[in-house]
């Protein structure tokens, strides 16, 4: 298994190098002049030139690239001009926020979608099957900013159950001691019940928003994959040898049906991690998505490069995890490794 992981890691090196080159070039061809943006509208041309040389932007591209890579090797992603902080520090502060939100949303979606998909397949054509179809269709048809705003309107504005959608914690609570960066986990580790509840209250609505959106692919995939497996010969054998339906559906069918579902989960997760900008905006969530978009608007190179690179590495790591998980589920994959 370790060898398999090592092999897969080796094969990802070229793609990471590719990502570094492409993001570097892409950020350079983006329209907009960073120096002019930071000098402000009233700056004289001399001031702009001075800023440009200070940022190293007057150097030829290869020289800029070499200095970028040299810094990168040392773990330095450069400084963000908008926040004035090193990009590494910004990402380290914001990535856990995005990860926590995405994970919470995905776990919530899984806890609903997997049973729903399985039930829809087992009772094909019943009311639960129709419910599954309605939920899935409704989930994808509503854009996340709409469901987000609707949830805020109903649960905060009308009912008053939820706290104000203003980030990860309300102003009165203090941040827990940082262990994982995920507030829900850190507060539990610190045995701080009050802060845990506060963090949970804040994350509930954005997580539900994400979950509603990601329900559809997971439910549909689970249902389709379960249907295929339930029709398989070995399920018939299991039935004919008198195994209980729990065993047949749980151990025999579900584990086999999980393979495509795991792939879908990985795709949904990596998509959500970088792409839930709208949810982050609606709930003032300090995540990486909104950070990257703000940097993009400001033509701030370093954060964009750092963001894309981090996402690429995360994506690679996630795919590796899925490959390993595949091997755990399916012995035939292990053989090919």
């Amino acid at each position: 298994m370790l060898r398999l992981i090592g092999q897969r890691l080796m094969t990802t090196i070229p793609s990471v190098i590719g990502v570094i080159i492409v993001t570097f070039l892409l950020t350079r061809v983006l329209p907009g002049d960073t120096a002019a943006y930071f000098a402000g509208p009233a700056a004289s041309p001399e001031a702009i030139i001075e800023i440009r040389s200070k940022l190293g932007l007057d150097q030829p591209l290869p020289v800029q690239f070499v200095s970028y890579v040299t810094a990168l090797v040392k773990g330095d992603l450069g400084m963000s001009l908008t926040t004035g902080q090193p990009v590494t520090a910004d990402l380290a502060a914001r990535l856990p926020a995005s990860a926590e939100l995405t994970l919470a949303g995905l776990l919530l979606a899984m806890s609903v979608a997997l049973p729903l998909g399985v039930l829809a397949a087992v009772r094909q054509g019943s009311w639960i099957d129709h419910l599954c179809r309605i939920v899935a269709t409704a989930g994808v048809s509503l854009p996340v900013f709409f469901t987000g705003l609707l949830l805020v309107y109903v649960f905060y504005f009308i009912l008053g159950w939820a706290p104000a959608p203003l980030g990860r914690l309300d102003v009165f609570a203090s941040e827990p001691a940082r262990v994982t960066g995920l507030y829900l986990v850190d507060t539990l580790l610190a045995r701080d019940g009050a802060t845990f509840r506060a963090a949970l209250a804040q994350i509930a609505l954005p997580a539900i928003t994400l979950a509603i959106f990601s329900l559809a692919p997971i439910t549909r995939m689970t249902r389709a994959s379960m249907l295929a497996v339930l029709g398989a010969d070995f399920v018939r054998t299991a039935r004919a040898s008198g195994l209980s339906s729990r065993k047949v559906i749980g151990t025999y069918a579900f584990r086999n049906a999980m393979l495509p579902v795991v792939t879908t989960l990985g795709m949904v997760f990596s998509f959500l991690l970088g792409a839930n900008v709208l949810v982050e905006k609606v709930f003032a969530w300090p995540g990486v998505g909104s950070y990257a978009v703000e940097a993009l608007i400001a033509s701030d190179y370093a954060p964009i490069q750092g963001f894309v690179l981090t996402m690429a590495i995360l994506y690679v790591a996630l795919n590796l995890m899925i490959d390993v998980l595949y091997g755990v589920i399916d012995p035939r994959v292990r053989l090919e490794g």
């Binding site: 092999q7 010969d233 018939r236 004919a240 040898s241 008198g242 195994l243």
Partner: protein, 567 residues
């Protein structure tokens, strides 16, 4: 008063709800199985034989239901039994073995665990003893090194081995009745014999009753006490095994028996008397090819090697560590033979013997490793497989594949399928001319012309086989490679298709290379036979010589493994 039978099916009717209304798959049948008795249910596809067995253990699809009748199993009414009761009966009292053993096992669970599941479910073992009992069950079906096999996954075992595991699974809880649904279809003859012998021995030993569901009359005759013949949902005849073959009562039984290829009969004999009439003149004795005539194809020292997967990791290769390269696997190991004009050459052997690899090389779908393939004087083996499609020889060598469903594009009508080679190889232009040619071809292969606008799913197995043949002869090839063309067909359809092939060959002057594992069919159709084993030819000669008086031990082994009806 006689003892009541173990299983008594009375007046059973099974219905399926379909889009076009209710269909009766089984119509008011009576079947009984006494204790210790082995009963065969024989019939062609669609006869309702499998549905009957599914109804007994109540694992019919959602759409199917028992509409009428009773199934009583040692005093228990299985139609009225609760689902919980049925679960206790399945596996512990009545077990099933299915066709296609590899698919019948959970692909991602260790085979030992799967046996344990059944043992634990029926409280035949505790968590502590389950492992030992599962290993014991594997040992009983004569799996060598059962402790190791316990940890094997189905994909690591051969087809015959998987079927043994399925048998172990079925017999683990000592049931009283075993239902075997086509247990050996798709297995080689020698494996089939081993598996059937094992089933019979184990069930006799335990005094179990067995229902053998099969389309193979020979198998039914060789292993069963009683035979039940089913046709279109009805039981048409029930008799002792010896009796039914000596003296078949029902016309359908006679038709089935007649269509089963056996020693000492000709292709024509397979057909029902009514169909023999006019075509019989065609089967006039053909002149034997002159011995000095140049053969159509001569294959010399043909070899196909596949590299074995390297075991070294990517990392170690990167570090520059080189390992001893393994000797490549020789799928075909230096074979030589020739096919004369107008001749049918049979290529027989068990799965893995290299017969399919050989036929793929001859059709130039894959490249050879070494050797030569001389076709009408040209070494077509020298033309790379990728370029062969553009070669002028492509149209002269065509192929008919095994599964009549898989080999047709589901989105092409029969006409489009038949026209496909003509469209690719040219020759005919104009929509009307093409249509006329397709209709001619359809008539030639006996496919009703009005059917050629249908899609494959709207055609029967035999009709699809005819479309496949029409497509292969569309370009009037000199050599047609037939890769088990009738393996997926019912015997009566097989009889018709075999006769059609013979007739076409004589009419169009083609040569056939007939790849098959069914020696009885080969005997009927082929002039000469090649027997292959592990990539090499063990014996070749005329059909009478090789199959009548085999010299090689392997050929003898193959021949004795065929179950024969006692006629």
């Amino acid at each position: 008063m006689t003892t009541p039978p173990l299983l008594d099916i009375k007046n059973l009717t099974v219905e399926f709800a379909t889009r076009r209304g209710t269909v009766q798959a089984v119509k008011a049948i009576d079947v009984s199985v006494a204790k210790g008795e082995t009963v065969a249910i024989v019939g062609e596809s669609g006869s309702g034989k499998s549905v009957t067995s599914y109804a007994v253990v109540r694992i019919l699809d959602r759409a199917g239901k028992v509409a009428e009748g009773s199934i009583s199993f040692s005093g228990v009414d299985l139609v009225a039994a609760s689902e919980a009761q049925m679960r206790d009966i399945r596996g512990r009292e009545i077990s099933m073995i299915f066709q296609n053993p590899r698919a019948a096992l959970n692909p991602i669970r260790k085979v030992g665990k799967q046996i344990e599941d059944v043992l634990l479910e029926h409280v035949q073992a505790t968590r502590a003893t389950a492992r030992d009992k599962a290993i014991e069950a594997l040992a009983k079906v004569r799996i060598a090194r059962p402790e190791e096999r316990y940890d094997a996954y189905p994909f690591e075992l051969s087809g015959g081995m998987c079927q043994r595991v399925v048998i172990a699974l079925a017999l683990a809880c000592q049931p009283q009745l075993l239902i075997a649904d086509e247990p050996t279809t798709g297995l080689d003859v020698t494996t089939q014999k081993a598996v059937m012998d094992l089933i019979v021995e184990l069930t006799r030993e335990r005094g179990m009753s067995t229902i053998l569901i099969t389309h193979d009359l020979g198998l039914a005759a060789a292993y069963c006490d009683k035979v039940v013949v089913m046709e279109k949902g009805n039981v048409v005849e029930t008799a002792r095994a010896g009796e039914i073959f000596r003296n078949p009562q029902h016309p359908y039984t006679r038709k089935l028996m007649q269509a089963t290829p056996r020693i000492g009969m000709s292709l024509r004999d397979l057909l029902p008397d009514a169909q023999k009439g006019p075509a019989a003149q065609l089967a006039a004795p053909k002149p034997a090819p002159a011995p000095d005539a140049a053969p159509l194809m001569r294959v010399e020292n043909l070899v196909k090697e596949y590299p074995r997967p390297a075991s070294g990791s990517f990392l170690s290769k990167l570090m520059g560590k080189t390992e001893e390269p393994k000797a490549p696997f020789r799928a075909v190991d230096g074979i030589s033979f020739s096919v004369a004009k107008g001749e049918t050459l049979g290529l027989v052997g068990e799965s893995g013997c290299g017969k399919s690899t050989t036929s793929m090389m001859i059709t130039r779908l894959i490249d050879k490793t070494s050797g030569s393939i001389l076709f009408d004087g040209t070494d077509i083996g020298a033309i790379p497989a990728k370029q062969f499609a553009a070669s002028a020889h492509r149209r002269r060598i065509q192929m008919v594949f095994q599964d009549p469903t898989d080999r047709l594009n589901p989105r092409f009508t029969a006409e489009r399928a038949i026209a496909d080679p003509i469209l690719r190889m040219g020759g005919i232009s104009g929509r009307d001319a093409l249509r006329a040619r397709c209709e001619d071809l359809a008539r030639l292969v006996g496919l009703p012309v009005e059917l050629i606008d249908r899609f494959p799913h709207q055609l029967s197995g035999g009709q699809k086989a005819r479309v496949g043949i029409a497509r292969a002869i569309a370009l009037e090839p000199d050599l047609v490679i037939l890769d088990e063309p009738t393996a997926a067909l019912d015997v009566s359809v097989q009889a018709v298709v075999l006769n059609l092939l013979q007739e076409l060959k004589e009419r169009l002057g083609m040569s056939y290379l007939f790849v098959s594992h069914d020696l009885n069919v080969v005997r009927l159709l082929c002039d000469r036979v090649i027997v292959m084993k592990t990539g090499a030819i063990v014996e070749q000669g005329t059909s009478e010589e090789v199959l009548g008086d085999p010299k090689a031990d392997y050929t003898k082994e193959l021949l004795t493994a065929i179950p024969h009806p006692p006629v």
